[in-house]
């Protein structure tokens, strides 16, 4: 009975092949499929790096990246100010990339955790490389100068975003109560009031020309600082250069 069964299978299969009902797909079909799959993988990987590096750039540009240093309130404000849309996109791209690479032996033979860690490592390295090339700074500048309309919505929504509790700017004047900063995107000026309650996790040796992140609620053009920290990065060159002579600020006793 078994032999009869399988002879029947063989006959039916060969009959279908001979009649042309079952036809062999040409090799180019599979080559094209592989090329498309690889292209899709590369495109998703590039999109993922773009979104991840834009997230990092936006966090730096708005100053949000630096506020967890101001304690629990800083961490709370950090979580609330994260660009969640970009993060959701990044997660979606990670899932899609995972699905795309899962067909390859190197990916499915290892636990999912390893390939996810591999993707994260790839994203981190990619984002570092992007930040070295100043890719986002270039696009951001072209948006500010009105040269790039295509990238405008992205950078307007994320990197030029106005935040209530966090301001990143350059010190242009030191006074008795604190200092004055100028900040993008419109070169607005704010007087920052520093008190004994202000958290200064990296000291209070501020000078004109320093880039600082100020954490505190803004009231018109005044900010009562909950925390201030110097950021070791210069603001883009569009800002006022400030007075030539550098002044130092010391917290009043």
């Amino acid at each position: 009975m078994n032999n009869l069964n399988h002879d029947l299978i063989k006959d039916k299969v060969l009959a279908k092949i001979e009649s042309g009902e079952a036809y062999m797909k040409p090799r180019w079909h599979f080559i094209l499929k592989t090329v498309l799959w690889l292209s899709g993988t590369v495109i998703v990987a590039l999109l993922l790096i773009f979104v991840a590096s834009l997230t990092l750039f936006s966090l730096r540009q708005t100053g949000v990246l630096f506020i967890p240093a101001f304690g629990f309130r800083g961490i709370g404000a950090f979580l609330l100010s994260l660009p969640w849309i970009l993060i959701v996109f990044a997660v979606v791209f990670i899932i899609v990339l995972e699905i795309l690479v899962k067909r390859y032996t190197f990916a499915y033979r290892r636990p999912l955790l390893y390939s996810i860690l591999g993707i994260l490592f790839f994203v981190i390295i990619g984002s570092i490389l992007i930040s070295i090339t100043h890719f986002h700074q270039g696009l951001y500048r072209s948006v500010r100068e009105g040269r790039s309309q295509l990238a405008k919505p992205l950078y307007r929504d994320f990197s030029l975003k106005e935040l209530r509790h966090v301001q990143r700017g350059e010190i242009i004047l030191i006074n008795d109560n604190g200092f004055r900063i100028v900040k993008p995107p419109d070169d607005d000026e704010f007087d920052v009031i520093i008190s004994s309650q202000t958290r200064l996790p990296f000291g209070m040796d501020f000078e004109v020309g320093d880039t600082v992140v100020v954490f505190g609620e803004k009231d018109d053009s005044t900010i009562e600082a909950i925390g201030v920290r110097k950021v070791g990065e210069d603001m883009p060159p569009r800002f006022h250069a400030g007075p030539g002579k550098r002044q130092r600020f010391y917290l009043p006793r």
């Binding site: 299969v13 279908k16 797909k25 499915y108 033979r109 636990p111 955790l113």
Partner: protein
């Protein structure tokens, strides 16, 4: 005369010798029928499914890399066909994702005394296999009936080798429990 390997026959088919495909069907139809019948309990159309597996493998044979082994490639097509049949019938759930594939597990040593325990276990398998979940049933069938190693099972199911070990270990435990419940 030295018998041609599966890969050599597959290459001949790729080069246009369609009749050679009959040799591959001859070599694998019994094995695939056994795989289908053990894995797909309560499905009456095992022959039709196996026939479909061969048709699909012929259609896609140009995608087969002749530097690799033919058998896992064919079984992978069979696995997909059988899983689709299970989904279509809707008799049992087929999870989209298995959490066992997420974390690394220590790879359990492959059982080397397969022959010694085979008789005993196959008897249990024959009577209880249908009571196991699909994700446990399939690696058992591939390991004990198709006599594949962990690596090959992993390639057929596209899961990590460590997950194959975990599934086989859990499957044996569940199997013994079911067997004890029924016969003791």
């Amino acid at each position: 005369m030295v018998e041609k390997t599966d890969e050599e026959i597959a290459q001949a088919v790729q080069n246009g010798n369609s009749e050679s495909f009959g040799l591959l069907v001859e070599r694998y139809e019994q094995k695939l029928l056994r795989y289908a019948k053990k894995f797909l309990f309560g499905y009456t159309d095992a022959e039709d499914l196996v026939q479909e597996v061969f048709i699909k493998s012929y259609i896609n044979i140009q995608s087969f890399n002749t530097n690799r082994r033919f058998s896992p490639w064919l079984y992978r097509i069979a696995h997909n066909e059988f899983i689709n049949a299970i989904k279509k019938k809707g008799k049992e759930p087929v999870p989209f994702w298995d959490p066992d594939t997420l974390f690394p597990h220590p790879v359990a040593a492959e059982i080397t005394d397969r022959e010694v325990i085979e008789k005993d276990l196959k008897k249990i398998l024959d009577s209880c296999l249908d009571k196991l979940e699909q994700k446990y049933r399939e690696p058992l069938v591939l390991f004990y009936f198709e006599e594949m190693d962990y690596q090959t099972i992993g390639d057929v199911l596209k899961i990590p080798v460590a997950t194959v070990g975990v599934r086989l270990h859990r499957a044996r435990l569940v199997l013994r429990k079911i067997y004890n419940q029924i016969y003791e």
